[in-house]
């Protein structure tokens, strides 16, 4: 095992100061469920690991002028939050299916997003909830819409001296419902073969789709929004054939670049998108009615 230094700042300023000091020699670690696995597999480590685990001020789920979720919030906290379950349902669906209880107890939302795996469970739900990432570095804070956050597989716009502080979600979710489908072979301890998140905003009588957002994971090098399928749904009266067409558009080359990988063949992934976009749209609509 390659030697490294392990630093444990207790506040954000210290963490950013250390990042600045060590520049490209350092890497951030939060829950460690990705970083430690990578170090173990490659036997290579950065010279310095800067742990964010003691930044307990960044563990929170708040609602005031929008929803604010601290980057160090664990998947378990999201899973056990009734606020997340009822108002940010797709995120609840995702967080409660990450790894196992042991992984969810330590793995963080910020880690899942910054690791930027194409399969990141929380990415799709946060995309359809129109989340914004709040980054802080030596030059201050900046806000980046999550749809502009991922730049490639395991790559993001986060600069090496920046820390992801929180995810912001706009407040006007009153008529929205959301849902996430993680397609797997097993019931637990799985990565998604494909991930599908849908958020719908319905009219007061629940008949018309006023707004729609669809996100796919493992359907491209990064988590993506399926804009053509979203646009198709906007303004439509909700009906089976309408949702079915949205599924067809979402699974087409207009929206995604689905590939065959070791874990799954492309045709099957496309089928699952085609079938589960309508199903998740229906579930999201149900959840608007039940709010």
């Amino acid at each position: 095992m390659q030697d490294f230094e392990y630093l444990m700042p207790t506040n954000l300023d210290q963490a950013i100061g250390l990042l600045k000091k060590y520049e490209n020699k350092a890497a951030l670690i939060a829950g460690g469920t990705d970083v430690m696995v990578k170090i173990g597999k490659t036997r290579k480590a950065p010279d310095v690991l800067i742990s964010l685990r003691r930044l307990s001020a960044l563990r929170y789920i708040k609602k005031n002028g929008g929803y604010h979720i601290g980057a160090l919030t664990t998947h378990r906290m999201l899973e056990q939050s009734t606020l997340v379950q009822s108002e940010l349902s797709a995120l609840h669906d995702a967080a409660s299916q990450v790894g196992s209880v042991q992984i969810r107890n330590v793995g963080t939302l910020g880690g899942n997003i910054c690791n930027a795996a194409p399969s990141a469970d929380t990415a799709g739900p946060l995309l359809v909830l129109d989340a914004t990432a709040v980054l802080e570095g030596p030059l201050g804070r900046r806000r980046v819409p999550l749809k502009e956050f991922f730049t490639g597989t395991y790559r993001t716009v986060r600069k090496p001296d920046e820390v992801l502080v929180e995810m912001e979600i706009p407040e006007d979710l009153g008529r929205y419902g959301s849902a996430y489908w993680k397609h797997t072979r097993r019931k637990a301890m799985e990565l998604p073969l494909i991930g599908i998140a849908v958020a719908l905003k319905l009219s007061q009588d629940n008949s018309q789709i006023l707004d729609s957002r669809i996100a796919l994971t493992v359907a491209a090098p990064t988590p993506i929004r399926a804009y053509p399928a979203e646009d198709f749904l906007k303004g439509k009266v909700i009906a089976d054939d309408v949702l079915k067409e949205a599924g067809r558009i979402a699974s087409s080359a207009d929206c995604c670049t689905i590939r065959t990988s070791l874990r799954c063949e492309a045709w099957y992934r496309e089928e699952i998108v085609r079938v589960f976009v309508p199903r998740m749209a229906k579930l999201a609509a149900e959840r608007v009615k039940n709010r």
């Binding site: 095992m1 392990y6 742990s51 685990r53 196992s100 992984i103 107890n105 330590v106």
Partner: protein, 157 residues
Amino acid sequence: MKKVSVCFTLNGDSVTAEVPVTWSLLKTLREYFELTGAKEGCGVGECGCCTVIVDGDAVNSCLYPIPEIEGRSVVTVEGIAGKEGTLHPLQKAFLENNAVQCGFCTSGMIMSAKALLDKNPDPAEEDIRTSLSGNFCRCTGYVQIIEAVRRVAKGNT
């Protein structure tokens, strides 16, 4: 090799360890404290054989960087029996319910179950299944394991 000195609570006792900074909690438990109840199965946080309880939560000790343990409280399978060797109700239930075959997964199973029951003494079967979903048994004795946990949950031992 850089070393780190950590002070923490281990099965109720205050302890100090000076070990390489690259070590995991699992390696420290096994190599430094010679507590071999927690096992390394996969080493990547999937199998759950290394499960221990840190500050009340079940965690994979194989992925837990040792510097992080400073000031925290760790309970391993060695720490749950009574002082005179009386078995913990979960240990008893595993024995009586034939929930142990090869035994490699057992300590992890018991620690995940204990973390659940400490927080929720009367869990639904679904809660038990969720709590054990990160613990693999390759002899596939899951039914007996879940039944053993359920018996303790109901206080039927």
